[in-house]
Symmetry: C2
Subunit: 653 residues, 2 copies
């Protein structure tokens, strides 16, 4: 019976996918036909973002970040690496072995932009690059600019480091995004040729394959969703099955670091390279959504708990150590030394997006919101042209924003998130439509039964605490609208047409309003946005006696330019336990407009660094302090005013 | 005038060194003729260590550690690496590029043992190895088992990593130690041939030289002291002058990491690789003691303050990060993630030994004591056959002790410290004799005017708090005896023949007793050894709200096998603020005999790891706790009972 249902669903999926217009309705990921997805995505073009918090970031992304990054990629020879293979350029290959992926990720970002409206310049660039890439592809389908010439005989012999399959994954994602934006398959077909080469030559009874840097797994599932060709799903399953440890002579240290090479379902905790771990989990979730293998869901839930209860920064960042760019031990969450690679926070968001689709549980959206507004949002400067690789939670003034990194994985990753952002705001399910996140925006889509639905969201979120949603169904109909009540939003109030909606709007849940909806129905959601002091588990050593200030989804920080001029540093200041509330002021002139929070604190009269390093505890005299006004800004906006010191976790007196 | 004095002293030095018996009076370092040394060393053979704290460690070192390590070195091909060069072995070279140094350091340790009394087996092994090494030396003097054959043309082309000069430094130190033990120059002469090759071919107007891993600097100064040949001192000065950054195309990152390559006197703080930084500082101090260049002393004092006030573990360990085995930012002193390489604590001790000689200031001996009893002493298992590379201050049970490391720098380094230990206990100065450290021991040496002096020290230090010193001068004479009052020893009392000695015995100073000393005079020193709770500067984030227990020179820790069986881990326990004193009990059966400390504390009823990672501070409820007896053991003795959890900095309620 179950097999029959599955077969039936597969047939529907194949049908939908064979429809030549299918690309028009596919979201950032396309789970509309995934048998084990609870929520379904809406295409990016179905959501128009209005003015508000994200629109200046998205505009800067399109107008500054994306064009600048292409220039950087061209200047650093990343495009030439392809041109030289087709004899159009005489030059040495440049950059580390994974540079192809950076260009593909840029193309994916540009393709996502096109989903929100045509941009002939961007489209022309993607088409030009596609031609260049196609010319570099070998007849076999193999495509990689590093494993050529002298290194040709090393192909697939050092998969633990080679990034050949990582690059293929990003090629496929770029091809899929461009196809979903335009219906043009040229780039996708390049990826398919290489994917076919893999499927035909590698596998349990053929040559062994391994994703030394997971990424291809999720790309292959997406390719299956796009083409209906089950071989890609099966190959993703083969990669996740991790059965090639012996044939590839992998060490324990390697499988820990790579987060691949042993069965994904044997994992009990996160370890190793943070981005690899996140991407592997994305692939495993995608695989689950198609296959329903319960061992995957069990492992994914265990890993999620491990991350969210023990290893995630309050900013949604992941990765405690520079050494190995790795996830640390449980509760090892240093602030100044935090690695928190932008790509890892993005991987965290991408993974939780998949978990949200699978389960429909709001807590996964909570993690997305935390990462998106904080640990991802901090990754790109307000100017859009300087990116962070690391996102520490404390700094004495190091230069963390740069125009270019030789390993430039993060910048185009940030660009693809911003470009695809509209696709995350709404979902659909069998019962109706879900409002996942809050920003001025307009959804023009349809319920799963085909009834049109428009939602017009007006809000000053995350500065304001009210969201108005005007509902316009294609026809008067009974269905549900689910609004997400974030975990921090207690209490929250929801009204429909001015009257309290029946039921309790519980924080950390979607609040369902099932009723007959008709034109001009109006939902209003109000959140408590009082600034709150957050404490960490006392096993997080660095945060003992410290608090982080949070307002709505935003984590705040102290940054040196905002503090009163005193003779001591930021690190000699402490927050006074609140008797009075925080002063809140929206400063349009500051950092492109931020809500500033102020509270009294105290500053040491002499720098603490002059105190002895170790002394008898009974003899420690609290150094003299004086009152001071502390000014907090949102964490994401720090490091936009030169080299500054910054602190998220502030001592509480 | 000053030049004349200098010339005069140099002549004396040269005379002393030409004396064929000079080797008999030379200490671990020989500063007897160093114009800028305040204290002078006594030879190792002048001090007989009696039973007590160190003698079992030293006996195990001679009987187990040193023989086992030679076996390991032989088994891992480190000796074969030499034999293959003289055609006595057909085999591939084995091990990393610096393995020669490990053998030399083993030879130095063995030579130090011989200074305390002949051991024909050890002597025979050194002689055998010397013959093997000599046969591998090239006619030019060049000697290195890595830069041969295919790699021959890379000699001195990659000094930032090659360790060629590091190996030479250890060869010279081994040769000097064996010469000082036996008068046999064979090994020394091998080193001299290579040193001459360097001096003749490298320099500001010749080929450029660099110590990519400092070490040769101090060895060259010691070679100058041993031979009187000033070229070696000058070459050490050239290396420390750091003038070859341009000729060698060194990057800023390289000179930071190596702690060489720019003028030593331009350094303002510690950074980079911890062992490199410590060894470079040793060399610079040695260089100062011969030249008196004030820029060196100023830099050394600045660096010392940086280390001791901002970057040193309470155990005397150095090096916060695994990444680059490096010193971190000021106050970056994580506990579980501490690197604290044994070699770095040893380097810290060696450096402070040199600073003590230069200045005569007790605070340098305080650092030696801190490192020796804690961060060095922890490095070797009680069995003597398992060594730590890392010395963390907290552990969830990782395997930190191993028989062998491919980079086996630490084990023979620990062995040479234990073998040379008698040489650190006493010093002389123009006014008399200095008692630096406390252990049952017998000094049979002479004052600087030639008057014989014997000191017979009886003590149960560091378990007992009393030291009795019987004084037997060669003849009744007026001179000073200085006893060191450790910084932790407040108050301390000193009596001579049962009556309080005039003056105040101030902690952190040498206490001078100047009088007419005659046979049977008896000094007694009593220290306060009440266990104390130590606090760290509040800028050390990990130690906020925590204390370390210290008793005398020993840092204590909680280790899991000693705690009451409860359902939670060590990390869910806290110390109750002392109302009553610690219970103290010497347990002869435990860990080769340790003073155990006990105090009431509290343990959480449920593991803290199940608490939320982040929550609203006002809602944090202190989890329920119950009283528990906490048992502390000395830090150095941890990890001798399998894989255990351990914590030095304990939360204080």
């Amino acid at each position: 019976m179950r097999a029959c249902v599955f077969f039936f669903l597969a047939v529907i999926a194949a049908f939908a996918q064979s429809n030549s217009d299918a690309w028009r309705s596919q979201g950032v990921i396309d789970v509309d036909h995934s048998p084990h997805a609870t929520l379904h995505t809406v295409p990016i073009h179905a959501v128009q973002m209005g003015d508000g918090f994200w629109s200046p970031r998205m505009r800067t992304n399109v107008e500054r970040s994306i064009p600048t990054m292409l220039e950087e990629l061209e200047q650093h020879g990343i495009v030439d690496n392809f041109l030289r293979l087709s004899g159009q350029k005489q030059a040495d290959r440049r950059g580390p072995l994974y540079t192809d992926s950076d260009l593909y990720k840029w193309m994916e970002a540009a393709a996502f932009v096109l989903e929100s409206g045509d941009r002939p310049d961007l489209r022309a660039n993607i088409d030009r690059l596609t031609t260049i890439i196609a010319a570099a592809q070998e007849a076999s389908g193999y495509l990689n600019t590093y494993y050529v010439e002298d290194r040709k005989d090393k192909r697939f012999t050092e998969m633990y480091r080679s990034h050949e399959l990582y690059c293929l994954g990003h090629l496929l994602q770029a091809g899929i995004a461009y196809y979903r934006a335009t219906g043009n398959r040229n780039l996708l077909d390049i990826g398919i040729r290489f994917a076919n080469y893999m499927v035909e030559n590698f596998g349990p009874t053929k040559r062994p394959a391994l994703t030394g840097h997971p990424e291809l797994e999720m790309a292959l599932v997406e390719l299956y969703r796009t083409t209906g060709d089950r071989r890609y799903l099966d190959f993703a399953g083969y990669l996740l099955s991790g059965v090639e440890k012996e044939r590839l002579h992998l060490t324990d240290a390697q499988v820990n670091y790579m987060f691949s090479g042993i069965p994904f379902t044997s994992r009990k905790q996160f370890e190793g390279h943070a981005v690899r771990a996140m991407y592997a989990s994305c692939g495993a979730t995608d695989y689950y959504s198609e296959t329903g293998d319960p061992a995957y869901l069990e492992t994914l839930r265990k890993l999620w708990t491990d991350l969210v209860n023990r290893k995630m920064y309050i900013t949604g960042g992941v990765g405690s150590r520079a050494a190995g760019e790795s996830i640390g031990e449980p509760f090892e969450l240093p602030n100044a030394q935090a690695y928190g690679e932008s790509c890892a926070a993005i991987g965290n968001m991408m993974w939780n997006w998949r978990l949200l689709a699978v389960t429909g549980e709001s807590r996964f959206a909570d993690v997305i919101e935390r990462a998106l507004y904080n640990g991802i949002n901090s990754g790109m400067s307000l100017s859009g042209t300087l990116d962070c690789y690391r996102n520490p939670l404390e700094s004495t003034g190091e230069k963390i924003r740069n125009e270019w990194y030789d390993t430039t994985c993060c910048p185009p990753n940030l660009e693809r998130i911003l470009a695809s952002l509209p696709g995350y705001f709404y979902s659909t399910g069998p019962k109706g439509v879900y409002v996942n996140f809050y920003n001025n925006s307009h959804l023009d889509w349809h319920l799963e039964d085909g009834t049109g639905v428009k939602l017009d969201q007006k809000t000053e979120f995350p500065w304001g605490n009210t969201v108005d949603i005007a509902v316009t169904p294609g026809k008067t109909a009974v269905f549900s609208i689910f609004v997400r009540i974030p975990e921090w939003a207690r209490p929250a109030q929801v009204t429909v047409n001015g009257r309290p909606a029946p039921g309790t709007a519980e924080a950390g849940r979607y609040f369902e309003m099932r009723r007959t909806w008709q034109a001009d129905d109006q939902i209003t959601v109000r959140f408590d946005m009082t600034p709150r002091l957050m404490a960490a588990n006392s096993l997080v050593r660095e945060n003992t006696g410290r608090v982080a200030v949070m307002r709505g989804p935003l984590i705040y920080c102290l940054e040196s330019p905002d503090q009163q001029a005193v003779s001591v540093s930021l690190f000699d200041m402490e927050l006074t336990r609140p008797a009075e509330p925080f002063k809140q002021e929206f400063r349009r002139d500051l950092l492109d407009g931020v809500m500033v929070l102020q509270h009294t604190g105290r500053a040491a009269e002499k720098p603490l660094e002059n105190e002895p390093l170790y002394q008898i505890a009974a003899k420690v005299s609290r150094s003299a302090t004086k009152p001071i006004e502390l000014t907090f800004i949102p964490y994401y906006a720090w490091a936009n005013r030169g080299l500054t010191s910054m602190e998220v976790w502030v001592p509480l007196k």
